[in-house]
Structure formats: structure tokens, C-alpha cells
Amino acid sequence: MTYGAGIAKGLMVTMRNLFRKPTTVQYPEERLPQHPRFRGEDFVWYEERCTGCASCAKYCPLGIIKIVTSPSGTQTQEGEKYRLEVFDIDIARCMFCGLCVEACPYDALHMGSGFERGRYARNDLTIHIDELKSAPKRPSTWFRPQLEAKGYDPFSGETVPWQGVSRASKNDPTKEEMDSRWVERQ
């Protein structure tokens, strides 16, 4: 080993890299592929599935989910279902740990896949119930093995209706069927 051999070796390494393809991704035009499990911020919430039990709010380490409910006359499943008046997620403080999704017993809340919800004011960062209702339903497969088993990819663009996200194996009844079943029980 002569003196300078180490430096020469290093120079060769950098020279090799000069002719490699750069790893940079030109972000707004190109994007890195995201995995279906990506925990992003455009939460997917199915009004039809949510019973207003507020498990998500209880499980949230930061307490950023605000739920206000009132008793509703109709029931779609066993147990009581409340009418959701407020379902706000304060994205400004959210850390996307996904515990709320883990907590949801009815598969009503799912993580989304986006990460580009920059706003000029903090108040604009809260996701309100109307936005949750109208948002496109592209749930992340995080903690949703049933979606993963179907091979669903939220980046393919297709949306999933509320019947399709259940962890129950049998086909879910339609909303009308369930409503009528409740009426029958009454």
C-alpha cells in the first residue's frame, strides 16, 4: 500500500458515481411510488359505517378528533347508532400514527394517502365532517388486511364503497336491508 492509494480509491468511487443515474426525483413532476399502506392525511371516513362510538377519539394519543353526536331514530346495525354532528380531525397536530384506524371497530375510519395538505393558516388544517363526507374514498390499506388481501391499491385511483371495506367475510347487506331489518325488530 503506497501513500495516496486510499485517496485514489476514493476518487475512483466518486468517479464511478458520476456516471450513474442520479437518484434525485423531480418532485412535483415525478413522484416516488407510495406503498398502499402509506399513512397519509386525507382520512377516509364512511358515514354509513360510523356509529359514533368515538373509539377513535379515545385512542388518539393527542386527542385531536372531536366528535359530537346526538341520538338518532334509525339504526343500521346491532347496538345504538348516533347521528354524527361533528367529526373534526385537527390535522395540524396529527402525527399519523394510525391508532384511530386501529381502534375503529366498524372499519369506518381509514388512513388516506396524501401528504400535500399545506395551508397558510392553521385553522384551515382541520378536516371537517363535510369534507370527510365528500372526499373520494381511497383508503390506505394500513391496518386493513381485508383491503390488502383484495390487492387494493389506493394509488390506482379506484374508490371503494362503504360495503367493500368490511373485515367481515360475508357480503354486507345494503343500507336499505339493514334499515328494514331494524324496522322489523322494532
Binding site: A5, G6, M95
Partner: protein, 378 residues
């Protein structure tokens, strides 16, 4: 360059007044908001006072009012370059406290995740060390390029790259997706070449050797007395690795070696980590081969109520021994959650290591301890 290594003493008639310089809290190479109040005589360091706490978020206090599962999300933010290891240390403590069993597959997945995280953390360390030596970001960016692939694997596993929150008391939150395994195989095939390349770039470079050999030698007895742990302790010649000495999860079944330094200088601290990354690859490859089927998680309730008592769980994190000391009074949240953070305790010997060296060595020596301010300040 033996003769160039010495720091010649200035002649006696050249009286210089000591100067106080504040390195940090905003300084390019203090790894976050760390402040060093340095008293210098010219370029030579006479006295050092580390000042920190700028990033203190009261994690231990926050943990006292969260349920055991929710605290997992707090641990991600301790050493943010090694979230998986933090998760692991915490869930081990909770499992010890509450007596939760972990399925085999869950243990293997945790080992794979923790070892991948170790490689990522060591790549960051090597990159930043060279950056502090003045190699214009090149090793750093190479390191980040490879780390990116590890983060991609983490995204597949758990949907997040840095703040993973992957582990739960009783296992991991979810099994790996099917496309994780081919991606892991590709990574395992490519990574040794990248490590070779990185090592070729730096390990034999004469300037790196001249700058770090014999610099800030930490003797084994001193390192033990100062409670140093992790690669810093191993670079000083003490073969102490909790994965071997106190194996947790399935480390007892893994075949791997512990890199141990001969001199305890900055060069050894640099190299020990490079070698450790290779050993981690070995562990990941074995775990990938041996991983059994089955469940990944014991169905522990979300609100765990451990019996009254206390437990200390620790892992060999990339920075050293990371431990969680939990005290339960029977409630749903820990009564006390103490974090034994390696970065914080490894700073004990900082002053002894720095005094007498030049300001250019200061950043290198400080970097070679590899502290992370998220973990120091908690």
C-alpha cells in the same frame, strides 16, 4: 503522517487570551440544538461546557398520562433516526411489566425491523462524520441514498418512514405485506456492494486516517466508568453487546459477530459502526430465512392494565443501550416512565475527550459519539 499528528505547544512568550466561543445551538455540526460553550486558546480547546435541553419535550411526563400503547408513538420521536429500536425497547419493557407473550413471527419481524434501522442509523452516522471531517456531503448523500431504500421498506411494513410506530406490546401491529419480502431480498443483495463502496471511499483515505487515528482515545476502564454504551464502548475494546449478553426477542438464535475496536480512538468508533452495519445485514438475512409463519401479535387489549410493579427493558439501539424503566400502579398508563437514553449518558465523557484538541477536532470527536438531540433532551 506521524509527525503531522502532534499539536505543537506555542512558545511561552506568545501569551494569548482565552476566548469563549459558543458553538451552537445553531451550528452546522452539532446534530441539532446542542450548545457547547468552548474556552479556546487560539485553536486549542481549554474547557468545554455542554449545554442542552433545547429540545426537551417532557416525554417522560407525557408518557404518564397516555395509555401503554399510545406511548409507542412518543418513542418514535426520541432518536428519530432509529424509531424502530425505540419502539422495540419500549414494547419489551411493557411486555416484561404486563407479562405479554409475543408470537415467534412477531419477534422475527421486530428483529428485522430493528436491524434495518441500525443500518440506516449507522449510514447517517458515517455520512455526518465525514461531513464533519469536511468531505463535501458526498459520503452523506451516498449514505442517504442507501438509507432511502431502508425507509422504503419501512413504508411497506407500516406506512411511515421515520415515525414508524410499528411495534405494539405483544408483537408488531401488522404482518409484512407480500411484496416486502422480494424487496428485502433485493436490498440484501445490493447492500454489501454499497457498504464496500462507502468503505472504499472513506476507510483507507489518508486524510480520514490522519484526522481520526489516535484522536480522543477513550480507554476501556474510562468508558465503563462513564457508563458509555453501544459502539463507543465497543470501539474502546469492550465486547459488550446486549444482543449477545442479554439477548431479547430471537437474537439468541442469530449468528453474528461483534466488531470491537483496538484503540478506542475516533477512527475505531467510525469503523466499528461500518462493520456493525455488515453484521446487521447478516442478522437480517438469517431472520428472513428462518422466519416462521403464524400470527404476529398477541391480542393484548388496547388499554393494558399491568399488575403493580416495575420493569426495566433494554435493547442495543444504534447509539447504545436504550432502556425503559416502567413503574405500574395498576392503571392504564405508566406511573413512571424513565428513558435511559444512550446519547444522553454517552455525553458524560465529552469533556475529557475534547480538552486539548483543536476546534476542528471538536466537531469530529463530538460527532463520533453519535448523539441525537431528540434522545438527549427527550
Amino acid at each position: 503522517m506521524t509527525n503531522l499528528q502532534q499539536h505543537p505547544e506555542p512558545p511561552a512568550e506568545l501569551e494569548a487570551e482565552p476566548v469563549v466561543v459558543n458553538l451552537g445551538p445553531q451550528h452546522p455540526s452539532t446534530h441539532g440544538v446542542f450548545r457547547l460553550r468552548v474556552i479556546m486558546d487560539g485553536e486549542t480547546i481549554q474547557d468545554v461546557e455542554p449545554i442542552f435541553g433545547y429540545l426537551h419535550r417532557g416525554t417522560e411526563k407525557l408518557a404518564e398520562e397516555r395509555s401503554y400503547t399510545q406511548v409507542v408513538t412518543l418513542t418514535d420521536r426520541l432518536d428519530y433516526t432509529a424509531a424502530m429500536s425505540n419502539n422495540l425497547a419500549y414494547v419489551l419493557a411493557v411486555e416484561k411489566l404486563a407479562g405479554i407473550e409475543v408470537p415467534e413471527r412477531g419477534m422475527y419481524l421486530r428483529v428485522i425491523a430493528a436491524e434495518l434501522q441500525r443500518i440506516a442509523a449507522h449510514l447517517i452516522f458515517v455520512g455526518f462524520s465525514l461531513d464533519e471531517l469536511g468531505a463535501f456531503h458526498t459520503p452523506l448523500l451516498y449514505g442517504f441514498r442507501e438509507r432511502e431504500r431502508i425507509l422504503d421498506l419501512f413504508e411497506m411494513l407500516c406506512g411511515a418512514r421515520i415515525t414508524v410506530s410499528y411495534m405494539r406490546p405483544g408483537g408488531v401491529h401488522q404482518d409484512a405485506p407480500v411484496d416486502f419480502w422480494p424487496a428485502l431480498d433485493r436490498f440484501l443483495a445490493d447492500m454489501p456492494h454499497y457498504l464496500d463502496e462507502l468503505q472504499g471511499l472513506i476507510a483507507e483515505n489518508e486524510i480520514v486516517v490522519a484526522r481520526t487515528k489516535g484522536l480522543a482515545v477513550l480507554l476501556a476502564a474510562k468508558a465503563i466508568n462513564c457508563s458509555m454504551s453501544g459502539p463507543v464502548l465497543r470501539a474502546s475494546g469492550v465486547a459488550w453487546d446486549l444482543r449477545k449478553q442479554d439477548p431479547y426477542d430471537v437474537y439468541g438464535r442469530m449468528q453474528f459477530d461483534i466488531p470491537v475496536g483496538a484503540n478506542g480512538d475516533t477512527y475505531d468508533r467510525l469503523l466499528v459502526r461500518l462493520y456493525e452495519a455488515r453484521q446487521s445485514l447478516r442478522i437480517v438475512a438469517q431472520a428472513r430465512k428462518e422466519i416462521p409463519g403464524g400470527p404476529v401479535r398477541t391480542q393484548a387489549p388496547f388499554f393494558i392494565r399491568p399488575p403493580v410493579g416495575e420493569a426495566y427493558g433494554h435493547v442495543e439501539a444504534p447509539k447504545g443501550e436504550l432502556g425503559f424503566y416502567l413503574v405500574s400502579q395498576g392503571g392504564i398508563s405508566p406511573y413512571r416512565c424513565k428513558i435511559r437514553s444512550p446519547s444522553f449518558i454517552n455525553l458524560t465523557a465529552l469533556k475529557e475527550m475534547l480538552v486539548g484538541y483543536k476546534v476542528a477536532d471538536l466537531v469530529v470527536i463530538f460527532g463520533s459519539i453519535d448523539v441525537n438531540m431528540g434522545e438527549v433532551d427527550r
